[in-house]
Each structure stands twice: as C-alpha cells, then as structure tokens.
Symmetry: C2
Subunit: 285 residues, 2 copies
C-alpha cells in the first residue's frame, strides 16, 4: 500500500490523488442483483478504502464465515497467506530441514511464513522489534528462536542461532537487517525479497545492502516476487493453509483496529512504527 | 585475486603474508619425471606468482601451443572463458533474442561474455570507460551498443539502448553502474553478480545497490557464482569456445605486459585503474 501511493510505475498503477485508496476488503452484501452474491452474504475483493462499493462481481470471491472467521480471508487465507506461501516455497524453494530466518517476523506475512516453515521441519529464526513480539514468536508461533533487533546485534545473533548459515532469508525489512542476513547466508542460500519496510518512507535513494557481494562466494541469490503472479495456484495454497488452520497447526494472527474511514491513514502508519502484531485490519462497522 | 589478499573467509582460503601469491599460470616444463608432462611441453595450473614451481601433476593440464596461442589458456579457454560461459548461460539463463548488458565489458570476462551473447542472437550493450574501449566493443567485438560510463549517464543510456528492459545484466563492477542496471531490468530480469571491482578496494563497507527493491516489481533476481563449481563441465565449455575461436566467431582479447615477478603488484593495480583491455597477463621470459 505504501508503494501504491508513490507516483511511479510499478507492478500495478499508482493510486492518484483524489482516487479511492486501493485495499483488499471483506464486505457484506447489502443489495444485489448477482445470483452468486445474495444480500447478507460476504465477499472479499479489492473494494478500496470506502464504506460502500459497487461491483459487477468481477474478481470478487464469496466467503463463508462458517468456514473461517471473516478476517482470516485478509490474513492467512488472503494475500498475506499467499505471499508467505509462494514466497517461501516457490521463490525461496525451501526444503525440509533447512534453516530459515525471517525479518518482520511478527508482522502478517512473517508470522505465516514462519509457521509454514516449521511445518516443513525447518529451523526457524524470527527477527522482530521488542521483547513482547519475540516472546510471541517463540511461545505462540513455535519459532525456534527470536532476535530482538532493538536490543541485539542481529548479525551476531543470527550467527549464534544459525551457526551453519541461513538457507532462506525471508526479508520484509531491508536496511541493516538485510545485511545481517546476507552475511549469515549458507552456501546456495536464497534471499526472498518480500518487502523493505525500512525503505518505503525514504525520500531519496538510500544505501542498499553493502554485503551484496557475498552472493558470489556463497553462490547465493536474492529474488523478488509479486504474489498476484500465482493467482492460478491460489486454490492449492488456500486448500493447504485452511487444512493447517483447521488442524490448529498454524494460527491466523491479526491486529484489528475498530474505527472509521478517516482512521485509515493513521492505521497504515502503525505499520511503520512497528505497532502491529499479525495482520493489521481496520474494521468499519 | 584482489579478494584473495583480504584476510577473511571466502570460497577459497586467503593468501597469507609471506605466502606465494595464488595465480593461474601457463608454464613450460623444464625438468620432469611425469610421463604426461615431458620436458619442453606446456601446462596450465595454479602455480602462483613465481618463476619456478614444483608439481606432482595434480590439477595441471597440458596444453598444446599448436591448437591455440598459449595465452588463450588464461583467457577465452581459461577461467576467463569459463566464468563468462557459465555466468551468462547457467546463472543468467540467457535465451536467444534477449537483451544483455555487461559492465566492465572491455575487461577479460566481459569481452568473452558479450561475444557469446552475440552468438546467441542477443542484443548486447557494453559499458566501459572511455571512447577507445567503447569503439573496441562495437567495432572489434560486435557489440550492438557501448556506453562510456565516464562520459554518459549510464542509467539514461541503458534506457535508450534497451527500451524494453534488460533481460540479463552481467555485472563485473557494482556501485552506481549496478544501480543503473537494476533500474533498467526487464520483468523476470537476472543480474549475474560476477564481480564488483568498484568495491574490491573499499576499506569499510560501502553502500550497496540502492535500487535493489526493484527486484520485487520486476520479479527479478541477483545471483552470484564461482566458476570453479562448474569444473566437471569445463570440457563442454572449452569445446564450444574453441570451436568459436577456430571459426573466428569470437576472438581472444588480451593485454600482455612483459616484465618480471617484481612487476606483479603494479600489473594487478592496472585492473583498478581500468588500464587493460581484455585479459591482463604478466609474461615473464
């Protein structure tokens, strides 16, 4: 979302001043002429930051609150889950038994990615800000270790927790934390470039990872991706993730703020202050 | 070589103070008890920077001056050629018709890589320092375009020469030139991280590529490699490259300095001043 409001070409056109902010939303149908979406049913789609939206049904998926709490369709069963699933398994090509480190691990995507990696019998190290988030990672989400980047030297802690190197570094953050991950890569390690929240508010180009040349001796790669590209495989991912949710082997973490449309900018800004744990949702009732 | 004399772990142990500097050399056999290497024959191996060396024949390959000039075994038929071949075709996964840009293009590896890319029916853009090197790329090596980084805005020139984006950016340089390549990547572009000569003399960590987050919208990757890993496929590469050399479809570019052992440091330093075109060789007679 932060990238969408910068006026430059990207994988999706930027949102212009005066346009409705793009957002994935879960909605309740209050009027309908569409047989697949009767009044009272629920749906998920890109309806944007507004109280009422009109749709012809294109790219709108009906969702069943009996199968999963509605907010799950924004989290583990939504783009959050798709991003974690395809980023880790396809871009990262994660194999059972490997060592994974995740930055922004207490965030929406990081938390799902770490839980999936645990189900793959991987050793999972999370990096997050503050003791509470770190405790959440190890106690609630089953991570093997957590590193508090506000209190620890991340580079040194990664070396301690992954003495044989990191096979997959799933990066949501960038900056010095990405460098710490690069320096600790194993031979043939993969950096999944999922996001770079440390950089989204940069007004001028900021230094990139100074350790990138380690890609040579480590025969390693850094790769970016856009989860939308995997749309034809969403059913596969959703089926597996809902199986795991039903079995209780992963949990959907969310941080719901109740408010109005006017609260949206402040809620978005919470992400940049690290104020959320799990999927940050603005609930308008 | 520059990396080998920094005292830190890498893909090969660093050369220690007082040790003989590691170097690939072509030698003449002056005394022998080895049937494969009679007196008067020639061989290539890691004999280091010294006038005389002793070997039991391990990792030493006899070479025939009738088949190719001896220096070719240090250039297109040596590690230079192996690095260009596997970097471009395996790491870069170059496909016919794609657009390739190469930094350090007038250097040893860059010149071979560009010529191989032309044989793959690719559009090839070279980046080099100075008008003479640029003319060499287009007139002697058949590059489609050359950019003089000392006189041009590389980012803008790349956009002009590759309006649909760069599929493979073969980087020997790093720094601002790598950023210019990243910004001009095509969707699913690959950056082959072959070297970073702009950084080898850095005394402290320097900023990395500030544009690395473009890997996300471009679904692109940066990947490092070590040509030694492809040792079991050297015969394949050597057979193809010697076929191209024989057919005159590529030429071996070299820059030979005649001198003594004591000239080695000054000759190595020429690389960092951009004083060579093609493979830089110190010939001791």
């Amino acid at each position: 979302m932060r990238g969408w409001i910068v006026n430059r070409p990207s994988y999706i056109p930027p949102v212009q001043v005066g346009e409705i902010m793009r957002a994935t939303t879960v909605v309740r149908v209050i009027e309908s002429q569409h047989p697949a979406h009767p009044v009272g049913s629920f749906a998920v789609g890109m309806f944007g930051v507004q109280e009422y939206a009109l749709s012809n049904g294109t790219d709108v998926t009906r969702v069943d609150p009996e199968l999963a709490p509605l907010t799950t369709y924004l989290g583990a069963l939504g783009m959050t889950g798709m991003t974690a699933y395809f980023g880790l398994l396809d871009v990262g090509a994660l194999k059972p038994g490997e060592t994974v480190a995740i930055s922004g691990a207490a965030g929406a995507v990081g938390g799902v990615a770490g839980q999936i990696a645990k189900l793959m019998d991987c050793r999972v190290i999370g990096i997050a800000g503050g003791e509470a988030k770190c405790r959440h990672l190890t106690e609630d989400l089953g991570f093997d270790a957590a590193i508090d980047y506000k209190a620890e030297d991340v580079r040194r802690s990664l070396r301690r927790h992954a003495p044989d190197g990191i096979d997959v570094f799933f990066d949501n953050v960038g900056g010095a934390i990405l460098d710490a991950g690069l320096i600790n890569l194993a031979v043939r390690g993969r950096v999944v470039v999922c996001g770079g929240i440390a950089h989204y508010n940069d007004e001028a180009p900021a230094p990139g990872p100074s350790a990138y040349l380690i890609l040579i001796p480590k025969r390693a790669r850094m790769e970016g991706f856009v989860a939308f590209d995997y749309a034809d495989r969403y059913p596969e991912a959703m089926e597996r993730i809902s199986g795991w949710l039903d079995a209780g082997s992963i949990t959907n973490q969310e941080h719901v703020v109740h408010g109005g449309i006017e609260d949206f900018p402040a809620v978005l800004a919470m992400l940049f202050k690290g104020e959320n744990t799990g999927k940050l949702i603005l609930a308008i009732e």
